[in-house]
């Protein structure tokens, strides 16, 4: 792909200026000010390589997939399935058949909650944590309310880490069928010890789903090393398009699971008496899939892999260290969570300004942060705060931008004095 060729020239060298030049939106002025985009955790910006790959497909190669015996449909199908292959390699999956395309992480978790959830028996339990995004919380409430399984909530420590003693206690009676927790908190930045959680879950006969919506963006994720059973992530946070998410599941589990949505493409046979579901993964991809978005996700994966996930992680570590150092010199700022293992996501509150007032001020100087509860209302309740501002970094974030944020926070506190 072109993305690989262009980005590949600089493989091994993290050339931030060239990376930023790949993202057309970053050269925008906001009310005459340079855009300082610190909301990549909500949705990341897109490099030209992704935008162009999607345009190219629609201009020259688009047709529906898995349906036509004509040239364009066959080539679109090949491109769509090549995207599946790219995702499988990105996740170090054992087989491309373990990759299911969904419309988002949210849709992927709902798929597991419905389909794998239907295999759980009354008396069994699901464990989630206090730091889940609503997307990994509400589907399990819905499952509980639908089937009567028990939902257990694992506590989070004051440092913002998963309380592993509490997890052990929640797993102790052996009734837990599934642990569903985040791999990296979208509020605290905490990276959870996935392999250890997997070991704890498996010892008690439970499966593990990791919500990788944030984690997969910030570091290499290897399904063999993590040893989880389900993993989900989304395209739009990985510099790809909206409308596409990924569910990875162990093949032997996916093959036992009933379909979620019914429709075209997910069937082997339909008569007026009923249907036979298609094999995995088509079984879980009812209807016309997000074709253009899959090609966009492929381009995004090529893009980050050409830079290298290790290089991206190292860059982010520099940004995190910088942010921690700068924040520690500011008066009146409270950071939510101080996990040892963390990524570039910071939720914070000023002592004299509400999150929304602060976000309005920051916006005035071109800084885009999220304000509110970041789809994690129970976590804000856990830390006793109504709302926070959140700065989240992307691979294009610079140390100068981190400094500018810190400077603006100091000035904002003066403004409200």
């Amino acid at each position: 792909m072109e993305a690989a060729a262009v980005a590949g020239e600089r493989a091994g060298v993290f050339d931030l200026a060239r990376i930023r030049a790949d993202f057309p939106i970053l050269s925008q002025k906001i009310r005459g000010k340079d855009l300082v985009f610190l909301d990549s955790g909500a949705s990341a910006q897109k490099p030209r390589q992704v935008i162009e790959a999607m345009s190219r497909l629609q201009e020259t190669g688009y047709a529906n997939v898995h349906r036509g015996a004509y040239f364009l449909s066959e080539s679109a199908t090949a491109a769509y399935e090549a995207a599946r292959g790219a995702v499988a390699r990105f996740l170090k999956a054992a087989s491309e058949r373990e990759i299911v395309f969904a419309s988002s992480s949210t849709a992927a978790i709902n798929l597991v909650a419905h389909s794998y959830g239907s295999l759980l028996k009354p008396g069994q339990a699901v464990v989630v944590s206090e730091m889940e995004h609503h997307a990994n919380l509400v589907p399990w409430f819905m499952l509980r309310d639908r089937t009567g399984i028990e939902l257990r909530i694992c506590r989070v420590t004051d440092a913002g880490e998963l309380d592993l003693d509490d997890l052990a206690a929640k797993l102790a009676d052996g009734k837990v069928g599934l642990v569903a927790v985040t791999h990296m908190s979208n509020v605290l930045g905490t990276v959870t010890p996935a392999a250890q959680i997997a070991r704890m879950a498996h010892e008690k006969g439970a499966k593990l789903l990791l919500d990788g919506s944030q984690a997969a963006v910030h570091r290499a994720v290897d399904m063999q090393a993590l040893d989880c059973d389900f993993y989900v992530f989304t395209g739009h946070k990985l510099y790809g398009p909206t409308g596409i998410g990924v569910l990875w599941g162990r093949l032997e589990l996916l093959e036992k699971m009933p379909p979620f949505l019914g429709g075209g493409d997910m069937i082997a046979e339909v008569t007026l008496a009923g249907f036979l579901p298609a094999p995995v993964p088509a079984r879980f991809e009812a209807g016309t899939p997000p074709i253009v978005e899959a090609i966009g996700l492929h381009a995004a994966i090529d893009y980050v892999e050409a830079i290298g996930m290790a290089a991206i992680e190292a860059h982010e570590r520099r940004l995190v260290d910088r942010a921690m150092a700068r924040f520690s010199t500011l008066d009146g700022i409270t950071l939510l969570g101080r996990a040892q293992d963390r990524g570039g996501v910071f939720a914070f509150a000023l002592d004299n300004a509400h999150a929304h007032d602060l976000a309005t001020l920051l916006d005035r100087v071109g800084i885009a942060v999220r304000s509110g509860r970041h789809c994690a209302e129970p976590l804000h309740a856990r830390f006793g705060v109504e709302s926070t501002c959140r700065a989240s970094f992307g691979l294009y974030t610079t140390e100068a931008e981190v400094d500018f944020l810190a400077e603006a926070l100091g000035k904002a506190r003066e403004f409200f004095r």
């Binding site: 929304h356 001020l361 100087v365 509860r373 109504e386 403004f415």
Partner: protein, 155 residues
Amino acid sequence: MFDDLRDLYQEVILDHGRKPRNFRRLDDADRHGRGDNPMCGDRMELWVKLGGDGRLDDVAFQGKGCAISMASASLMTETVRGKTQAEARELGERFRELAMTGHCPDCGASLEEEMERLQVLGGVSEFPSRVKCATLAWHTLNTALDNAGKEASSE
């Protein structure tokens, strides 16, 4: 760095935001309502004591939220005290227009003095995501006057 934001955050607003007036519960209230902006985390509770003639004898609120939402609620409680319910609702209608557009063609018609007092919040119209912060108190007042016991939301 933020000087041009003084139009939005005028001293009056910062003052009412820091020290909201009528920030208390009314134990003998005749009307009560709750308001919530779920996306923001602004929450308030509002009480109204009605006089024998149906006027708003006392209006008080408690809650948590941004400076805009707290200042708006504070200014509202001062502005609607002594008004009839119809006047209070009328002020709410005009205030919503002011908050959304920055203008209020009917504002001079009657209740001129009251609207002038609320004018300090007109700057919010330039900040579309903040309009609901300013209008939450007025939605909550309507809810309380309707006395339906439902939660107000300006989403």
